[in-house]
């Protein structure tokens, strides 16, 4: 069978890099996410706006991590991705000085690009005219630059690009990266997602759509996926990068394997620019395609890291679809209760958490879930982590534009 059609093709996750509201690095993320304590807090950068809280990456010092001169030329979404990529490679035991860079790819999801650089340039333009616009404006705000800059940083000379499927971007990137391994085009792919767009403009725009939680008085309880009293998502920032290699290659070099990406499915609602298709047919098609690609049935799935943004309609559409396709057996969680919604980074961050859950055989709790939405019939883990014999897990993502993506991961 040609490699491109091998069902259940395994892309081993040999390295994980995480820069999220839950912390920097795998250990900090495991501790915070499994604690079930939300990261949402008042955000001084959003003060005075109708939504004045968010989930920020704590203690991120780009100058210390990347060097001040380099960091100054990179927008925050790129800084996050480079730091995550370096972490992931160190964990995977892959040294860019010794690899054949032409066999290494980079696929990173992003949505809103370097919006801060764009806004600064616009202010300079209005204030002083076109000659006051920084020559770094365009290279700092373009979304594709995160793939280009990560490639420069690690010497990855194979295919690279940015996936832009809104809040599904990170999952799309992981799925596309796996195809580069399955086709044989690459031996190693850095796959992930990144977002750093917590500006008053972006948050005002999301707020005007009615997408955000209005719980300014109690931010820590605002992100409450699948809860009856959810009222919208909490905007967040962050990045995750996964080092993917063919499973047989990873086993041959006795690499650490967190989990294996074994299936990917994608679909589009073709229904509305921002509202999910109410029957969930779109996310169902993506999920069934991913299960088929992995060669597993819905009844084999032990755990779901759901998209679960904490929006009234999004959680409902997804929750019903999960029940219809997978039954009531899987342990479901939404880690967005802890991290908020890091937009284009979400799918990659959640793929990483799914891998950790499989490796540790423990499902992190959904923060703030006190009363399950009455329309849903799911086993949503809450209160405390749940230990279970997890072998097969799913991570789902849904984005504005009607983009849906699902990943199937298996225990290493």
């Amino acid at each position: 069978m040609p490699p491109a059609t091998r069902p259940g093709f395994g892309a081993a996750i040999t390295g994980l890099g995480l820069v999220t509201p839950a912390g920097i690095g795998v250990a900090a993320n495991r501790e915070r996410v499994w604690s079930g304590v939300s990261c949402a807090a008042p955000d001084p950068g959003l003060a005075g706006g109708p939504v004045d809280f968010s989930c920020r990456v704590p203690g991120f010092d780009p100058g210390a991590l990347l060097g001040g001169f380099t960091a100054r030329q990179l927008e925050r979404f790129v800084q996050f991705a480079i730091v995550a990529a370096r972490q992931a490679l160190a964990g995977a035991g892959r040294d860019p000085r010794t690899w054949d860079g032409a066999r290494v790819g980079v696929v990173i999801g992003n949505s809103l690009g370097g919006i801060s650089a764009l806004l600064a340039a616009q202010a300079a333009l209005l204030d002083g005219g076109p000659r006051q616009v920084s020559p770094l404006t365009v290279p700092m705000y373009m979304v594709n630059m995160v793939a280009g800059q990560v490639a420069i940083d690690v010497g990855a000379k194979g295919p690279s690009w940015v996936t832009a499927t809104a809040c599904a971007s990170g999952a799309t990137a992981v799925g596309a990266a796996r195809e580069l391994l399955r086709s044989g085009d690459c031996d190693v792919v850095l796959a992930g997602g990144t977002e750093a767009a917590l500006t008053p403009l972006a948050v005002a725009g999301l707020g005007r759509m009615g997408a955000l939680s209005g719980r300014s008085a109690d931010p820590a309880r605002a992100s409450r996926p699948f809860d009856a009293d959810r009222d919208g998502f909490v905007p967040a920032e962050g990045a995750a990068v996964l080092v993917l290699e063919r499973e047989e290659d990873a086993r041959a070099r006795t690499a650490p394997i967190h989990a294996v990406v074994r299936g990917y499915g994608a679909s589009t609602d073709a229904h509305h620019p921002t509202a999910p298709e109410p029957g969930g047919e779109g996310i169902e098609r993506a999920l069934r395609a991913a299960l088929r690609d992995a060669g597993v049935g819905g009844g084999d799935v032990d755990h779901v890291n759901a998209h679960g943004p904490s929006t009234p309609i999004g959680d409902l559409v997804e929750g019903r679809t999960l029940r219809r396709v997978l039954g009531d057996r899987p342990l479901v969680t939404s880690t967005k209760g802890v991290t908020g919604h890091p937009l284009a980074a979400a799918g990659a961050i959640e793929a990483a958490y799914t891998a950790l859950a499989l490796a540790d055989r423990s499902v992190p709790p959904t923060a703030n879930l006190t009363r399950l939405a009455p329309e849903l019939d799911l086993d949503v883990v809450h209160g405390a982590p749940r230990a279970a014999a997890l072998d097969v897990a799913v991570s789902t993502s849904m984005g504005f534009g009607g983009h849906n993506a699902a990943l199937v991961l298996t225990r290493a």
């Binding site: 100058g63 001040g68 000659r131």
Partner: protein
């Protein structure tokens, strides 16, 4: 001239985050890792800081801080 040099060095360290230890007298902008875009940005910042007109080709990456101070002084800059 020396005052202009000192002010340029200060801008390089504080705004451009150049490592102060790398600012040796003979270091060129190329040595300091300035590429063509960052050099144009430096020209923009120096023109604003010293309030003198500088075209985008006013500085080259083969120049040192002393050379740049000379260019600024010739345009009437005072520190």
């Amino acid at each position: 001239m020396q005052a202009i040099e000192a002010r340029i060095a200060e801008i390089l360290v504080e705004d451009f985050k150049v490592d102060a230890g790398a600012l040796r007298p003979d270091a060129t902008f190329a040595d300091l890792n300035f590429d063509s875009l960052v050099l144009v940005e430096l020209i923009l910042v120096l023109g604003n800081q010293f309030r003198v007109p500088l075209d985008d080709g006013a500085l080259h990456d083969t120049m040192t801080v002393t050379d740049a101070a000379g260019v600024l002084a010739a345009r009437g800059a005072v520190a």
